[in-house]
């Protein structure tokens, strides 16, 4: 039963990718893309119901493992992938009309989009730490050609940086995985089972601490590169700024989460094995550093997509910090923040994408008075910005509030740093977005309003999570938090 549900979840995007590889240049490719993403979303909902009902499950001879933690990410991934595919349909068509994309590039985009979803879902659901690596690398490979989709010098440079840096990072993660296997082999014997997370989790107290420490450092640095943790973050702003907007949205909203999921899985093993807070401390350190560096960098940004990319680094740092602290409340807050950040950040990128498409530039000094040009885009961007900055009614506020109060309780020294960094980020983003949205402009009002249903759907969800959390959702988060400890 679980097997077939999981199979549906994985096979729909895979077959979507293959179908679009064949039919990607047809006129209905965009619709097929959305349909496949919708199918994936439905499959993820079915799987989620099942896991909420009956708890963690293994599938396909233990090769896959789904618990409350990763099924939550699966649902989130499938949802955002679906809304992004809805957004990208009109967006990419307009890009094509502007002559920035050819049919062939769209063909590549659609098939790679589905393959990317597939790679992420495999990385999330697999039980094998080796396959996690393979899927993460596959996710990089599928997106690298998407980042350079426009074939401009800047986009090529960004894609090259992304490829090389993530390639190196992920190679270090492979070394960490090998070390993990090296430690596990002694307990679990050779062959398939020694890399299965569930088995590792059972015997974690017996794993060799020295090896595990070293393994975790490599895993954190490796997957951390993909999360965008400072100091290995430099690919992230480039890739987000130069790639097509839907790609920026899924990179920021989804790929970073998936990489973080791998880090958290390793953290559970390592801290469980060492009985200390070694992995947690490392994550807290890197998280805090990322928050600080990213918020300081925000001031220097002139490119709007670049700025929100730095904001992603900041928020991923915050989430890493929360998971690093551990404990039920912080983990709960981390999961919540992951959700609201994904939803808000992809909504912002949708709005920014439309704004940039209208104005024709990503430089903020040239984008002015969106409210006058197109009120929907203006309001979308304004509300999204409010939400991401942690203004009260939105969900980001609740999760940030939880993280900071926990930090105040457990690690008082970190609180002022976090508060100052968040304050700086607020000042920087607000100061730059305010004239973009409300400033004076001479541009003409747009004849027709853009389709921004995904933006408002996301923001509505974030607002709802801030005002009222349905009890089953809270339960779900709590169970996931309990699993991670």
């Amino acid at each position: 039963m679980i097997d077939s549900q999981l199979l549906a979840l994985l096979l729909i995007p895979l077959s979507g990718g293959l179908l679009l590889a064949v039919f990607g240049s047809r006129s209905w490719a965009a619709e097929l893309n959305s349909l496949m993403s919708f199918g994936t979303f439905v499959a993820s909902v079915v799987l989620t119901m099942r896991i909420i009902d009956s708890g963690p499950q293994v599938a396909f001879g233990e090769e896959f493992f789904i618990d409350q933690f990763n099924v939550f990410l699966v649902a989130l991934t499938a949802f955002v992938a679906f809304t992004t595919s809805l957004f990208s349909r009109p967006y990419m068509r307009i890009e094509q009309h502007h002559g920035k994309l050819s049919i062939g590039m769209l063909h590549l985009y659609y098939s790679m989009y589905q393959m990317f979803t597939f790679a992420m879902l495999v990385a999330l659901t697999t039980n094998n730490m080796g396959i996690v690596w393979v899927a993460m690398e596959a996710a990089t490979l599928t997106t690298v050609l998407l980042v350079s989709l426009y074939r401009t010098p800047a986009s090529l440079e960004a894609a090259w940086k992304y490829f090389i840096l993530c390639g190196v990072g992920i190679a270090l993660a492979l070394f960490g995985t090998i070390l993990l296997y090296f430690a596990a082999e002694r307990l679990l014997g050779q062959g398939g089972t020694a890399l299965l997370w569930t088995h590792l989790n059972q015997v974690k107290s017996g794993l060799e601490p020295t090896v595990l420490k070293l393994a975790f450092v490599f895993l954190l640095v490796g997957y951390g590169t993909k999360v965008g943790l400072v100091p290995l973050h430099s690919w992230l702003p480039d890739a987000h700024a130069e790639g097509p907007t839907p790609v920026s949205a899924v990179l920021s909203g989804l790929l970073l989460n998936v990489a973080l999921c791998a880090v958290v899985r390793s953290k559970v093993l390592v801290d469980g094995s060492l009985g200390t807070h070694f992995a947690g401390n490392l994550m807290m350190g890197f998280g805090l550093l990322s928050v600080v560096v990213a918020s300081l960098s925000l001031f220097r940004q002139k490119d709007i997509k670049r700025m929100f990319a730095y904001s992603s680094i900041e928020h991923m740092g915050l989430i890493t910090f929360a998971f690093g602290m551990g404990g039920p409340v912080a983990t709960f807050a981390g999961l919540l923040h992951m959700t609201v950040h994904s939803l808000t950040k992809s909504a912002i990128f949708f709005a920014v994408g439309h704004a940039v498409q209208k104005v024709g530039t990503q430089q903020m000094e040239n984008i002015r008075g969106l409210m006058q040009v197109s009120p929907t885009v203006g309001w979308g961007l304004a509300l999204g910005t409010f939400a991401i900055l942690g203004m009260p009614p939105f969900g980001v506020f609740s999760s940030e509030f939880l993280i900071i109060t926990t930090a105040m309780h457990e690690y008082p020294w970190a609180t002022p740093i976090l508060l100052v960094a968040l304050g700086i980020a607020f000042a920087a983003i607000f100061g730059k977005i305010q004239p973009v949205v409300f400033g004076e402009t001479t541009a003409k009002r747009l004849p027709h309003p853009p389709a921004l249903i995904p933006v408002f759907a996301h923001l509505l969800l974030v607002l709802m999570l801030g005002l009222y959390m349905p009890p089953y959702l809270a339960d779900w988060y709590r169970q996931a938090a309990a699993l991670l400890g």
Binding site: N128, L141, E157, A159, L174, F175, Q190, E242, K302
Partner: protein, 220 residues
């Protein structure tokens, strides 16, 4: 303690791997770099084979065969084709100060041996010390990536990094599960193809494969 001959042989191959990593670090010519890469793959295949033979693990024979096919024949062939098509076959790289690079390399080797020392105490029998060598060759490839300015040599560095990892996987831990190894091999192959596509895109756009042209994206 008498060490079995097969282990001595693997040790010798490990040392050879490290030597090749150093040779690649200081090699100026792209063509020789690719040949060295093929040689490294060959050493890797032999060592995998010896591990397979001495521990009688059958799936390692497949690994060895795969390595031979992929890293000794297919990838070097692809790279040779690529540099012929791109007309960079005889390119010579101007590099900063080779002795300094070598000294940094030695420092990296010492660092990784130190890092691996506690681990090699744990390992029983066959794997002792090999993790350190694998780590050292990984770090040397990283260093090579940092010091290179040509796209092709960066990619060779990337692939040789993968070789170091593969050595760690097969010789130091006696083989990861086959499904993982297959996945890794597939990823490497796809990565090489994408690199190839990239070379053409880069050259089309910049008229050169020198990545010094690609330092435009800054924070302002």
């Amino acid at each position: 303690m008498q060490i079995p001959l097969s282990l001595q042989f693997i040790n010798l191959l490990a040392a050879l791997l490290l030597l090749i990593a150093f040779a690649m670090l200081t090699q100026r010519r792209i063509l020789s770099l690719i040949n060295l890469f093929a040689l490294q793959g060959f050493v890797l295949a032999i060592s995998t084979f010896v591990v397979a033979y001495s521990t009688s693990q059958h799936h390692l024979y497949y690994s060895a065969g795969l390595t031979l096919l992929l890293k000794v024949l297919l990838l070097p062939w692809l790279l040779h084709r690529l540099i012929r098509k791109l007309n960079v076959r005889w390119d010579v790289e101007t590099m900063i100060n080779i002795p300094t690079t070598m000294l940094v390399g030695i420092a990296l080797v010492i660092f990784s041996f130190n890092l691996a020392a506690p681990i090699s105490q744990l390992a029983e029998g066959i794997t002792r010390g090999l993790i350190g060598i694998a780590l050292a060759s990984v770090l040397l490839s990283l260093l090579m990536m940092l010091t290179r300015r040509k796209a092709v040599s960066q990619v060779v560095a990337f692939l040789s990094l993968e070789n170091g990892l593969f050595f760690a996987a097969t010789s130091a831990t006696q083989g990861m599960p086959l499904v993982v190894e297959l996945g890794i091999a597939l990823d490497v192959l796809v990565a090489t193809f994408i690199f190839g596509i990239f070379f053409f895109q880069i050259r089309e756009t910049f008229d050169s494969l020198d990545i010094t042209h690609m330092e435009k994206l800054k924070d302002d």
